[in-house]
Amino acid sequence: MLEWLWSGRGSTRPLGLFRILLILLLWNRFAADVALWNAAGPVEMLLGLTFFVLTGMALVGWQTRRVMALLAAVMALMYFHFGLNLGHAPWTHHHVYLLFICTLLCALGPCGRSFSLDRWLSVRAGTAGPEQGALLANRLFQLQLAAVYFWTAVDKTNADFLSGARLDQILHFHYDGSFLAPVILWTPLVIGAAVAVVIVEYFLAIGILLRRWLPAVFFFGFALHLTFYYLLPVSTFSLTMMAMYLFLLPPERVHDFFDRLFAPPNRPANEPQ
């Protein structure tokens, strides 16, 4: 496994693209929480200011590696200190931790080598190297994805969940009294969904690390997350997980995709230049 972690260099475009998606997710989740109008005091004001400056710089990709490391520290402060130590419950959720760990893993890779102001400045200065880098961060993202699926499946592997009772309780909490209740709370459907979720999560935990299962992993993974996102208030969790699927694709294919996307269209041979 160690060899797999350190082996390989590849295109930095998946990481660059993920960085941009991550910042949009961070804004979606935290912008209102840390905006000036919501600041309870100078500490919260400073936290908000730091958050917006760092995320702004990370989005455009200026001083990207340093900024992402600082942003990871800010996210750790928000989750561990404000959330767990000071008891600000909304910042202790799974989706917040996932955003923190994604920021940290991003900072461990060459996240500013593609789709960034850093790249543009080096191209303009004539010092730009190829958009290639170590794939260590990509591998860590893959491990994180597999770990989430594995441990959440382990948590559901019990009679309470597999009998449908636990999912029934969750769905009752959100749909009791709704006009959709007769369909969504239909017992055979709930039991089937509970069993299917556990099977799919175990499958994804293994399939993520096997390239030949990739099409099925994408299909079942996206189906799972889109269903959760539509059915339940999961905040940014589903979208973050789906964004992480970028690291399951071969980096060179992502690179080639953008090459083709932005390539100038072929002009007819007889067209005047």
Partner: protein, 156 residues
């Protein structure tokens, strides 16, 4: 000897140590990502700093569902749901009802049903009585909830 070569020799061992430290840190992080949740989920280590992946494990736990039946001479004449009796829009509104914003802290279904029952009791005609039947979302499954007229209106 040129100064640059001297510099290389001077710094080469330090770069090696940094590299080893960096790799050790990454290995620890990878092991933590893979097996950290197991400390909480399998070995029951009580550490809030270690993230488990128990999504939605507590959502809805503690929420009561059911109806109050209003009886006239022992025959049901109307029923009132928990949600209507508590004057909330949906069962999720119970979270606001607790004052803590969470079912996990400061909410007791037994107290909430008795409170709602007492409000309903105060509106009954002299020959009317009430009873409650429903269930509670509990860890390990659903738990039946039943309260008689005396349970709910005994204090009045």
């Amino acid at each position: 000897m040129p100064s640059s070569v001297q510099g290389k020799k001077l710094f080469a061992p330090r770069i090696g140590v940094l590299n080893i430290l960096q790799r050790t840190g990454i290995i620890i992080l990878a092991v933590f990502i893979l097996f950290g949740p197991g400390l909480v989920q399998v070995l029951d280590v009580d550490a809030s700093q270690i993230r488990s992946w128990r999504m939605y494990s507590g959502v809805g736990i503690g929420a009561p569902y059911g109806t109050f039946d209003v009886l006239n001479s022992g025959e049901p004449v109307r029923s009132v749901s928990v949600v209507a009796a508590m004057e909330i829009d949906s069962i999720r509104g119970i979270q606001a009802y607790t004052g803590s914003g969470s079912l996990r802290r400061g909410f007791d279904a037994d107290v909430a049903i008795r409170d709602a029952g007492e409000l309903l009791c105060a509106t009954l005609a002299p020959d009317e009585s009430i009873r409650f039947s429903g269930r509670l979302a509990a860890r390990g499954g659903w738990r039946p909830l039943t309260y008689s007229h005396d349970d709910l209106c005994g204090a009045l």
